[in-house]
Symmetry: C2
Subunit: 154 residues, 2 copies
């Protein structure tokens, strides 16, 4: 894995996202890295992130899958262009659509691992499929279709 | 609209959800009501719920759509049985799948309105379609497939 997370390369003015912005002190501040062809995020839910007691809230899983997906899309975009992440011009993706299948309840008492793969790059659209593991067991699977952020935001 | 929200009828032991539990002090504590055939939730995002500055984080919208959907499914389940919400046996739904299409950026500086409709009741599965409005403009549309919570949790 590389030293800096994908999100640590985001331009400062678009680093306030609740899910993945390093400049949002109240947010989740997820960190994503390559592990070969897969992207990996590890996150430990807070006690408040409960659904029914003992299990993780599905909205948190959707949020993690969302930002893991846009981060993976950005990293894949740089890789496809043969550029170092963070080099100019900046690439930053937003979510066009998000789909999550909840396979089984996700225990809250441990670190979650998200593993993603780029399923397709079609023009500007990048599709990332991500599985959430709790204790090595797949508990949710999601898909993000990401598109580049309008240049006016960068 | 009725006086008590759907979520105010949930049994106490399953009222800790981050999105809709009235007993989760750090959570979103959404409140959903019938408005004729539609279910309505109003929610004002917190300042921290940002995506890019000025706009709402997509993970929050997914979370709102999720709990709005499971709440609507529960209310629809009681209605289909001709029972008052909160009467025994308890009905409480969890999410099997969640899909969100982000139509346009959602401004963060105002109250959001979610309006949902039951699209299908197939056996135990209830499908709810929800649109998010910001200042009267539809900015996201989502679908939740909800299934009853296992009785062991109730």
């Amino acid at each position: 894995m590389s030293e800096k997370a994908f999100q640590d390369h985001y331009p400062e003015n678009v680093s306030h996202c609740y899910g993945c912005g390093r400049l949002n002190p109240e947010g989740l501040q997820i960190k994503t890295f390559w592990d070969g062809e897969e992207s990996v995020t590890r996150y430990r839910p807070r006690d408040c992130h409960t659904a029914i007691p003992g299990y993780v809230y599905g909205g948190l899983l959707a949020s993690l899958i969302d930002c893991h997906g846009t981060g993976t899309a950005a990293a894949a975009g740089y890789r496809a262009e043969g550029r170092e992440m963070g080099s100019e011009p900046s690439l930053r993706f937003v979510t066009a659509s998000l789909h999550v299948d909840y396979l089984k309840p996700t225990p809250i008492d441990g670190e979650l691992e998200l593993r993603g793969r780029v399923k397709a790059i079609e023009g500007r659209r990048v599709t990332v499929e991500t599985t959430v593991y709790a204790g090595g067991v797949a508990t949710a699977r999601g898909q993000v279709v990401a598109v580049p952020m309008p240049k006016s935001f960068l």
